[in-house]
């Protein structure tokens, strides 16, 4: 069995194991660790787009919103009809949740395709602005759809998200990205980032690579959104605004563009930091921002990268 697959299965087994004893864990700790896991999925999937393929996307929160809302519609509106009065057993609930997550991810991927086709002709800051705009459009659309709660948001989702779902999802995201990037086919992502003209000149269809990265990234953002919705049990459009996108981008940059391990580390650190800073109450966000600035000044090449050569911007 290839090593990445082995790691993936081990991670999957570990998350199911931890999930089984989650009843005995400190609820606060469990809560924070689930937030960390969701952040890992978001950061690793955005890293495929921004880090490995070198396309600067600022719309990740938009895809997360698509996944959160559409998976919630499945469990909220289809769930009762499918599971019956008693709400079904663990197996049927699990199947329903898996279907909901897959649906949310697929819809986010489709949104990624729709947005990616026209906008991936743009480069650098132009692409960043266009994806930022699309992310906001998605949010505003949800804000104005009455059936989905409008500005008040959606509430009452069943609490399906468990430790195993979150970290199983994170393991799948890491595994998928690793398989994509470390294959012969996947070197095309890195080639597209390093030099688009040279990549075209050796016969790569760089547009296709960008789309594949964008759609895969959007899919996992959607899955993360679905996990988030069934974890917080209440979502509203404001939770998916562009500051959320920027939060994810910061994780990718701080982790060192294209370094999966670094990006995971940054996702953990940046999700824990606000929790650690909780005692200082109202100064929390100021300190958080200051720490970000200091980290960027001290380690511009990425928090967990030791070679002098920084990641490509």
């Amino acid at each position: 069995m290839p090593r990445p697959l082995l790691y993936f299965l081990a991670a999957l087994a570990a998350s199911i194991g931890v999930s089984a004893i989650s009843g005995q864990l400190d609820p606060y700790l469990l809560d924070v660790s689930m937030g960390v896991g969701i952040a890992i999925i978001l950061a690793v999937s955005l890293n495929l787009v921004n880090g490995h393929t070198g396309q600067f996307s600022l719309g990740h929160a938009g895809f997360m919103a698509v996944g959160a809302y559409l998976s919630s519609t499945v469990t909220l509106f289809l769930g009762p009809a499918l599971l019956g009065e008693e709400g079904g057993n663990a197996l049927t609930q699990g199947l329903l949740f898996a279907a909901a997550l897959a649906f949310g991810g697929a819809c986010a991927a489709f949104a990624g395709l729709l947005i990616g086709l026209p906008s991936l002709r743009l480069k650098g800051d132009y692409l960043a602005l266009v994806t930022l705009g699309f992310g906001e459009i998605i949010r505003v659309v949800f804000q104005n759809v009455e059936v989905l709660g409008g500005a008040l948001g959606l509430i009452g989702m069943p609490a399906y998200t468990t430790f195993a779902w979150v970290y199983g999802g994170a393991a799948l995201a890491v595994y998928t990205v690793a398989c994509l990037v470390n294959s012969t086919y996947g070197r095309g992502f890195l080639a597209t980032r390093d030099d688009e003209i040279a990549a075209e000149a050796v016969g790569l269809d760089t547009t296709r690579y960008k789309i594949v990265a964008f759609v895969t990234g959007a899919f996992f953002a959607g899955v993360a959104g679905g996990l988030f919705a069934h974890f917080k049990l209440a979502i509203d459009p404001r939770g998916f605004d562009f500051t959320r996108s920027i939060e994810i981008v910061v994780m990718v940059i701080l982790g060192g563009m294209g370094r999966t391990a670094g990006v995971i580390g940054a996702a953990i650190l940046l999700t824990l930091l606000p929790e650690i800073l909780r005692p200082v109450a109202e100064y929390r966000m100021i300190l958080y921002s200051l720490l970000l600035i200091v980290l960027m000044l001290v380690r511009p090449q990425g928090l967990f990268q030791w070679s002098k050569k920084g990641g490509q911007p």
Partner: protein, 239 residues
């Protein structure tokens, strides 16, 4: 082998090429010379499909490739080595070469091409595991050419292979270019600012000026042309 006729290319409102035509026979080394902004790089990029012409046509082995996307043009054996040693800086030398054979499926052919590249540029074999971005300028140029050779081209376009390279290495690289042409019969279109060198290795030359072909003929004749000498070869008497 390649016929370009009446090519017009513009960047927005600015005309980069206004009616460029030339023909390149099979097996030849043809050079395109001219100063900065004459349209040399634009011509190459248009041929390889990275830019779209406003009008005009490009025929490669009798078939029009004018509107084809870049990756399908490479598949036909026309390979472009872009200006400025564009290697994949974060990939190793080995991975760069593998990317060059991206469109090939035949493992044996890839291995054969790799051996040929190592034969031409033994330096690349020594640096196989090194990250391409840490190579010297000359080595990166060798890698860029080697990567193009990995794709089994029948036609190779080289954009300013002497740019920013130590003088001693320039001679080596030009020798290799001639060697590639002779031993494999690969047709070469060479764009150069170093007109002296380009005219030395080529058989035919075209001189571009502000998007037009202003002079053409056998390289040996152009080398002795007084007007060309004054403009591009730094004047001086014929040697």
């Amino acid at each position: 082998m390649l016929t370009v006729s009446d090519l017009h290319v513009s960047y927005g409102a600015i005309n980069a090429l206004s009616g460029v035509s030339f023909t390149i026979p099979q097996g030849a080394i043809v050079t395109l010379i001219g100063g900065n902004g004459a349209g040399k790089t634009t011509t190459l990029r248009t041929i390889s499909g990275l830019l779209r012409p406003r009008s005009g046509s490009i025929l490669f082995r009798g078939e029009s490739i004018t509107t084809l996307p870049a990756h399908t043009i490479v598949a036909r054996g026309l390979c472009h080595v872009p200006e400025g040693r564009m290697v994949f800086a974060n990939l190793s030398v080995d991975e760069n070469l593998s990317m060059g054979a991206y469109l090939l499926r035949d493992r044996e052919r890839i291995a054969r091409n790799r051996e040929f590249v190592f034969g031409v540029f033994p330096r690349l074999k020594e640096r196989l595991r090194q990250t391409a971005g840490t190579l010297s300028g000359g080595e990166q140029q060798m890698l860029a050419i080697g990567r193009a050779l990995m794709g089994d081209p029948t036609f190779l376009m080289l954009d300013e292979p002497s740019l920013g390279i130590a003088p001693r290495l320039i001679a080596t690289i030009f020798e290799k270019i001639v060697e590639i042409n002779r031993s494999q019969g690969i047709t070469i279109l060479l764009v150069e600012q170093n007109a002296n060198l380009a005219l030395e290795v080529s058989s035919q030359a075209y001189v571009l000026e502000t998007g037009r072909v202003v002079m053409q003929g056998p390289s040996a004749e152009l080398r002795d042309d007084p007007q060309l000498r004054a403009t591009y070869l730094g004047g001086g008497p014929v040697t």
